[in-house]
């Protein structure tokens, strides 16, 4: 899988659809939200794939789980292309 569409550092909200990206940093201002994201497996170094975009929100796949999250929250998750292609 090529990752040419992924900017070196972008947010999950801007990540290309269907491509696995690696989470580099969570910077949500509310600590409990950031903790919950990490506990759900959306922690630094985890692979994540945005699979659908809706009306102000999106569906992502982390591990084998589908998670719905809004674009504001996705904007607080920094991602980058993984070193090698993989599935989230």
């Amino acid at each position: 899988m090529t990752m040419t569409n992924v900017q070196p550092h972008t947010t999950l909200a801007n990540a290309p659809l269907g491509r696995a990206v690696r989470i580099t940093r969570l910077h949500h201002p509310r600590k409990e939200i950031a903790t919950r994201l990490r506990e759900l497996g959306m922690c630094e170094n985890a692979l994540i794939r945005c699979v659908l975009r809706g009306n102000g929100n999106m569906i992502c796949e982390v591990q084998n789980m589908r998670i719905g999250l809004d674009n504001r929250l996705a904007g607080s998750i920094m991602v980058t292309a993984p070193e090698e292609a993989g599935t989230a």
């Binding site: 919950r36 929100n57 998670i67």
Partner: protein, 721 residues
């Protein structure tokens, strides 16, 4: 099967080893796991009970208990705990689970054994909670559930590797098919169920060093030891430095030490907030690399293909609206025939009693009082069954979570997030589970706002009121060739409830429940074909509950109402005059000046007062008083709706009910808080009388105000005739 695991090191294990047969005399066994991993299905399979299950996170929001009979005759108490992703609870339902697991709950003793249900399709995420339980030296067995789904998805789990690395027994199960349940019972009954290997994950060396120092200080200054001290140290290292000033419960020496720790770790470039979770996941990933393998997926999954349509920004809303319209339309069309059968059945019974029992008070009491009131309500049973059938299918299929996803934007506009939509949707069935479902909402103000507006959603108790009035007063007219005026009127009543709920939530969130912008974050489960058994069990329970109320509260209240509407006796007077001068008539006329501006007369007043207990009492009340009012009608040949339709004011000759009165009554019932059970649940969930009192006050004012406006507008438009 794999032999018993090694690594049993706790006090409990020592107790176990002392038992002569080597069997665990567990008194209490708790089921725990991530939301939607099949805990309740497994609970039902283990206990033979029929707790409600659903295919969306947050179905279980309080602990449920059942008896677990093990193969050697040992009886245990099995507790089904609300789902949680972590022992660091972030919502009230998770707090219940964590408190019980860690022995902090005053009402429940710490479980002797914990069965952690792990979703075989989501092992990595589930092991996060498992690793926390291991760190706490909780005696543990793992039920690796839904292994059939994992197999279908090309996931292979090496059980022996998992057992070896975790140090606990792992039992593969498919709870929905009862596969592995007997083996799990056997393992629970064995003495090998003890705590596994704790703290296998490793922190980076500088973090571990700071952590150890802090644990020493916590022991010295606050007498905290073991896992409690470690968790506290981890929380202190992860917290914001600015927050330390407010943590006055800690010794100043300790706070200074933490401040210096923060500086050192930041200098070393360590992200204090993520390092603990990341280290744990690092270990989990290493473990999963050895224990779990997954075949590469070819193409999109069925769930993805369905999601592409049902969560689409346009089609998603169209489908959601279509499902709702179908639901309300079917309630009218599909239920008509069975309702007619029930009505005919009660008529036949009424005729039989009329023939058997000689005329007099006893016959009147049985036929006009008891049977009249109960029949009026029981006739609506098919509609209640259809409503719960639809809701059950939506829940079990996995669509409910998608409804929350679609509605997130709408909810966001009123200051709530999509998660609030599930409690509101559940309130279509009943506000009580709806209010309890708010326990999944993390933010307390969001939760309170959702609880305050949940009773505005039209529950099943309102359905008999709506359908009686619609059938009697809304013309049977086709709309657009596929809908009927009756179906659309019903839909609009549900729409009004939803609109009022969102409007009030917006008002509350803009005023006294202001909080930060809500965040939508929710697991979306895989779609599955609804389990017929699960849906039917839920429907049967609701139908039984409806009939039970009809046979107890409504029967009793109908008899009482018959007495109040029949006495004092006025021999020789017309039935309408007798009713008007009865005790019930006096009560109705007493409140008539208050409700007259809404277009309601004293007969409606009797219905409004009697239905303060529960809303469907309005229908039974009408059934009773119109039976008495039509004393010449032997055996109830005319239906209640016909009697209401033909009722006229003796003084003016004008009809008592018009289409406008019917609409006003429905609007009143949409908005008024006429349910004592909901008040009691609000009291329990908010732990005060303040919020239920506020809820009654605002809903009463809203109901009165809106009904008044609708009535006046109707009169002005010339619809009052």
């Amino acid at each position: 099967m794999t032999p018993p695991a090694a690594g049993c090191r706790t006090g409990l294990f020592r107790t176990v080893r002392k038992h002569p047969a080597g069997a665990l005399k567990a008194r209490t066994v708790a089921l725990v796991g991530n939301p939607n991993c099949g805990k309740t299905t497994l609970f039902n399979a283990l206990t033979g009970l029929r707790q409600r299950v659903g295919n969306y996170p947050g179905v279980t929001v309080e602990k449920k208990e059942g008896r677990l009979a093990l193969q050697d005759g040992i009886q245990c108490t099995l507790i089904d705990l609300p789902g949680t992703y972590s022992l660091l609870a972030s919502a009230p339902d998770e707090q219940i689970a964590t408190d019980i697991l860690l022995g902090r709950a005053s009402h429940t003793a710490r479980p002797d054994l914990v069965v952690c249900v792990v979703d075989a399709c989501n092992i990595e995420r589930s092991l996060y909670l498992v690793s926390q339980l291991l760190d706490r030296s909780v005696p543990l067995v793992i039920a690796l559930n839904m292994v059939d789904a994992a197999e279908r998805n090309g996931i292979t789990v090496r059980l022996r590797v998992l057992e070896r690395e975790l140090g606990v027994r792992v039992v593969p199960t498919v709870a929905s098919k009862r596969r592995g349940v007997e083996e799990l019972k056997r393992v629970i009954g064995q003495g090998a169920c003890a705590a596994g290997k704790s703290r296998q994950w490793r922190l980076p060396e500088p973090v571990q060093r700071e952590c150890d120092e802090l644990i020493g200080l916590l022991d010295e200054h606050h007498q905290l030891k073991g896992p409690d001290a470690f968790d506290e140290a981890a929380a202190l290292l992860a917290t914001d430095t600015a927050d330390l000033e407010r943590m006055v419960r800690y010794d100043p020496v300790l706070r200074d030490h933490v401040r210096r720790d923060h500086q050192r770790l930041e200098f070393l470039g360590v992200d204090r907030r993520s390092v603990f979770v990341e280290a744990r996941y690092q270990w989990i990933r290493t473990l999963c690399a050895e224990a779990v393998s997954q075949e590469p997926r070819n193409g999109d999954t069925l769930t993805h293909r369905i999601d592409r349509i049902v969560t689409h920004r346009v089609w998603g809303i169209v489908i959601f609206a279509g499902i709702m319209a179908l639901l309300f339309q079917s309630i009218f069309t599909w239920a008509a025939l069975p309702m007619a059968w029930i009505h005919d059945g009660f008529d036949a019974l009424s005729l039989l009693l009329t023939r058997i029992i000689p005329p007099g008070d006893l016959r009147n009491l049985l036929v006009r009082g008891a049977l009249g009131g109960v029949a009026a309500v029981v006739t609506f049973l098919p509609q209640i069954i259809l409503l719960f059938l639809f809701i059950g299918v939506l829940e079990d299929s996995g669509y409910m979570a998608r409804a929350a996803f679609i509605m997130d934007r709408v909810m966001g506009r009123v200051g709530l997030h999509g998660k609030s939509f599930i409690p509101l949707l559940s309130s279509f069935a009943c506000a009580i589970p709806g209010i309890m479902a708010t326990r999944t909402i993390e933010n307390s103000k969001d939760r309170l706002a959702t609880m305050l507006v949940a009773p505005l959603m039209s529950c099943s108790a309102r359905l008999p009121v709506y359908t009686l009035l619609i059938a009697a007063f809304i013309p049977a007219r086709s709309v657009l060739g596929i809908f009927t005026a009756a179906g659309l009127t019903l839909l609009s009543m549900y729409g009004l409830g939803l609109f009022a709920a969102l409007g009030m939530a917006w008002l509350f969130k803009k005023t006294f429940l202001k909080s930060s912008v809500p965040v939508f974050l929710m697991e979306l489960p895989e779609y599955k074909i609804p389990s017929i058994r699960s849906v039917l069990v839920q429907v049967a329970e609701r139908a039984y509950s409806f009939l039970h109320r009809a046979g107890t509260i409504i029967l009793g209240a109908s008899i009482l109402l018959w007495f109040l509407a029949s006495y004092p006796r006025m021999d020789g007077a017309l039935p309408a005059q007798r009713l008007q001068h009865s005790y019930a008539g006096l009560a109705g006329r007493f409140i008539e000046p208050v409700i007259r501006p809404l277009g309601f007369d004293w007969k409606v007043g009797i219905g409004l007062v009697s239905s303060l207990l529960q809303r469907e009492m309005f229908v039974s009340t009408m059934g009773t008083i119109y039976n008495i009012d039509n004393a010449n009608d032997e055996g109830g040949q005319a239906s209640l709706r016909d009697r209401m339709n033909s009722d006229r004011d003796p003084a003016t000759g004008l009809p008592t009910f018009t289409a406008l009165t019917a609409v006003c009554l429905m609007v009143y019932y949409v908005l008024a808080m006429q349910c004592l059970s909901t008040v009691a649940v609000m009291r329990r969930e908010t732990n005060s009388w303040r919020w239920p009192a506020f809820q009654i006050a605002y809903m009463s004012a809203l109901a009165y105000g809106v009904t008044f406006v609708v009535y006046r507008a109707g009169l002005w438009l010339g619809l009052g005739g």
